[in-house]
């Protein structure tokens, strides 16, 4: 595997803007390598937008941001057909979804109707407007954010739709040293705008194809399925991980292996990714006395399950 320099270049590039969050950056890059979509669940002001933006910038590809509000309509995302007076025809005005990287900010603030229009576009990589189908650009990645604290006036995404996201991550606050560095740095308005692209779109597509060729040993496949089965058996969960979830973990593990300069997966890849890939796909058994933020509970349950599944020797 000689792809690591490219992947490392993206990570380094993003890290110039976002300090001290190398894990979140790596996960974002891995998510893109695996052709997945990313859900960032965190409080405002920790760099969600910057992460999405700098990822898009590093790739020399288009980037659109959609601020989700309760009055946002599907056509505001997908685009709309407008009657052209001179030509006497309807013309399709492409919406912001026709970009390589789309940041869907505060996705839980909009109505389910608008949410589902975005999620359909995410799973099918195409949109249908007025009975015409328009393919989206490749690579296509949606980075959605949601605020876990405010519940007032939000429409939480249902589990079936959360399933469309490959990962759900948290960025978290930087530690004090890093935070001080950020304050010390000369502030520009949009630090991501200053980034130079390090990878072409074609190179990214090549990398995405290479991910498919990463080797996942049979024993690891069994290990992965062991984890999935354990979530389905667990008393703490009312809903385990679906087959799509298993597929997602498989894909993500391969991408992580590639990002770490291997052409084969290790148990570590699976174990490390399982919390971020699986925890938004399970439903907690509320009878077991979970209180407060469910995403953290779910992550802990997945972690505990991981400790019960033996690693193949």
């Amino acid at each position: 595997m000689y792809e690591t320099p490219k992947i490392q270049a993206i990570r380094d590039n993003i890290e110039r803007v976002i300090k001290g969050k190398s894990q979140a950056i790596e996960l974002a890059v891995v998510c893109m390598l695996a052709r997945g979509h990313l859900l960032i669940e965190d409080v405002p002001g920790v760099g969600k937008t910057t992460l999405a933006h700098s990822l898009a910038r590093s790739l020399d590809c288009s980037f659109k941001r959609i601020q989700f509000t309760s009055d946002l309509l599907p056509s505001d995302i997908l685009g709309v057909s407008i009657f052209h007076r001179q030509k006497q025809t309807f013309e399709f005005m492409a919406g912001p979804i026709f970009a390589n990287v789309v940041l869907a900010d505060e996705i839980n603030r909009t109505t389910p109707k608008t949410q589902s229009s975005l999620l359909e576009a995410m799973s099918e990589a195409q949109v249908s407007v007025d009975s015409r189908t328009y393919p989206l650009r490749q690579p296509f990645m949606v980075i959605a954010t949601q605020n876990p604290i405010e519940y007032h006036g939000t429409f939480p995404l249902p589990e079936s739709q959360l399933d469309r996201f490959l990962m759900r991550i948290r960025i978290g606050y930087p530690d004090q040293v890093e935070e001080k560095k950020i304050l010390d740095r000369p502030q520009s308005l949009h630090p991501a705008e200053d980034l130079q692209p390090v990878l072409t779109v074609e190179e990214m597509l090549d990398l995405q194809n290479t991910v498919e060729k990463v080797r996942l040993d049979d024993s690891l496949m069994n290990y992965l399925l062991g984890i999935i089965m354990a979530t389905r058996r667990s008393d703490l969960l009312t809903l385990g991980v679906s087959t799509r979830g298993a597929l997602a973990l498989c894909k993500a593990a391969k991408a992580l292996a590639l990002a770490r300069d291997r052409d084969y997966c290790l148990p570590d890849d699976i174990k490390e990714l399982a919390p971020v890939v699986l925890s938004h796909r399970v439903m907690l058994n509320r009878g077991q006395g979970f209180k407060g933020r469910s995403s953290e509970h779910a992550e802990r349950v997945v972690q505990d399950i991981l400790e019960t599944v033996p690693i193949p020797l």
Binding site: R215, D217, Y264, D268, I311, L313
Partner: protein, 728 residues
Amino acid sequence: MNLERAFELSSVLLAASGFAGLTLTTDLPLLLAILGFVTLTVRLAQSCGVGSNRLSNQVLQFSPTLWNSLMVMAFVAFVVDLLWVSQDLLPAGIHFLIILMVNKLFNLRERKDFLQLYAISFVAVLASATLTTDLWFGLVFVAYLFAAIWTLLLYHLTKESHEARLAMTSPSSPVNASPFPGPITARFFWTTNGIVVGAFCLTIAIFFVIPRIGAGFFKKTRGEVIRTSGFSEKVDLGVIGAIKEDPSIVMRVEFPDQETLDTDRLYLRGAAYDLYTGRSWVNSLAYRRSLGQTAEGTFSMPNVSRGRGAGTQSTGLLQEILIEALDTSVLFGVPLVDSVVGDFPVVQTDGMGGISLPYFPSTRFQYRAHSIPNHLLEEERLATSLNYPDSIRKHFLQLPTMSTRVTELTRQIIRQAKTPHQIAVAIKQHLRTNYRYSLDVGTSVPVSPVEDFLFLRKTGYCEHYATAMVMMLRTVGIPARLVTGFLAGEWNDFGNYYTVRQRDAHAWVEVYFPRSGWITFDPTPSVAALVSNHLWTAFGRVMDSIRLKWDRLVIQYSFADQLAVARGIREGGDSARTQLSSLLSIALRWAGTWRTWFADHAPVLDWRLLGWMVGSSAIAGVIAMVWRLRKRWMGRHLLEQGLTTQVAIIQLYGRMLHLLASRGLHKNPSDTPLEFSRFATREWSHSGQYVQPLTHLYCRVRFGKVPLSPEDLAQANRLLASLRAVRR
């Protein structure tokens, strides 16, 4: 069935085949045979998982001290056996071997016990190979080969999986996974059996192809020498009974030239006698001289071709005879033997046309005899008087002192007869019709057995008949002599050969005609042959023909046979070549007609170009096929290599885990390799420099399926050794 159980079962079967080989050899003491049999049965039942294990468990609970003292006693018994009872190393050794085997069967605890059991079984099979030429040994050998290969495979498989499991099990965690499939899969079963068949075919190929030098073990067998009192230098009337009833096989006679014989009774001439003392026959012309040998190793009889009647140019009869070890040196053959081919240094003949070896053969052996039967010439059949040479008159008209009653009886019988031939036929007919054949003639030895037979008892067997006929012929001046040998009547239609048994021993008469030579007359009435078509006897014939094949193709297989096989293959190749070339010429003729047709209809077609195209595309096709096969083969090779390195690296990593566990660093089952490596480094920083590279190597080979290079393996072993040397 899981591997461990199959392994135990095949080990016990291996021992059983060794024991079966031993039972074939000598008369094993009944006690030992029963002991061995019972032990093996119990162990077999136990390893099959049937029956109650209580008994064997009880025996297994014997303390090692008890077993050891039993062994010491057995050794003392062996010494006693060697010095006083058997007085021979082989039987005593075999007895001791069986006791050792029983001991080991009850003490299969560790792997070295199994190894010792295999060594004992191997010695057992080796001993039986040297001591028996029995057909059943072939079966035992196949069973042994079968069990041995299964055992060898299972031994290694169980050993590997045992070690791997040992390595994986740290005290804190239970065994969770084995890298090997537990049960025997159908693929494994058939692959192993395929290996067995392959090994067997290879064994056969080596057996038949590697040139024979030296006699080998089989030739040195002591063999069971069959007593044949009928073939001593003397024939005593009245001591034959028991022999005539003996069904043991003396020889088998095949006819390589012809499928069947038109006669159902085959005379096999052994020795002839001229001098009758009144009680017994003696050969006074027993002086032997050696026969000349031609370049091909054929010993030919000089006087037979001379004594053959002129004009009766018969083709002769070729016999191939496999003869058991008899206590006679006489070579048998259909009268009259013209030449003999065999693996003998010298063949001798006496004055009576008998052929013999100068020594008593101690093993069964094989030879070819070519015979040209004497036919009575028409002119001598009709001649009223014949002129006998003096040498014949001197020897073959001799009579013992006996009453004139015999002469009177003879004259009475031959009143109608005019010619010597008619006289002989008349006497033969008289004896056949008026006397009763019986082996039971009483034990008392009369003063003159012939007169006793002719006038008193009128009951006797072949020697009485033949002696009476010779005496009667001699009283009327016709030279005659007594011949002994075998009268074969048992045709084996499965193997196309005659089986000759001890009870087929026979005596008959030869009458001399000056120009025709010695003509065979048999005065003994033919006893109705008891050929029953019972299923059992048919089975017996099949078994006997298999046994003959075994003797011929395995026991007696020699360098000469190899040459014959090679010659046969070459001749077959030659004939195939001629057939192919004739086929080719036909094809070419067809091609020629097609070509002219094409030439007429398509004159622009360039034949040479077409030939080039066809030829080059054929070559390209072959190359492509080879290339594809090569790739596939290479792929398989790499895969296999990958599998073995997988096992090696798992074992190495397992050993490392085991070692670290013994230093207090236990790996949780849910810890990934890298997590554990970090944990070990954190807990015990010295180990990091060994654990980390080992873990990376393990990950690369185990999950990346990267073939493990010998350098990597050496490096890993070195790291492990260094880790072992570090104290925590």
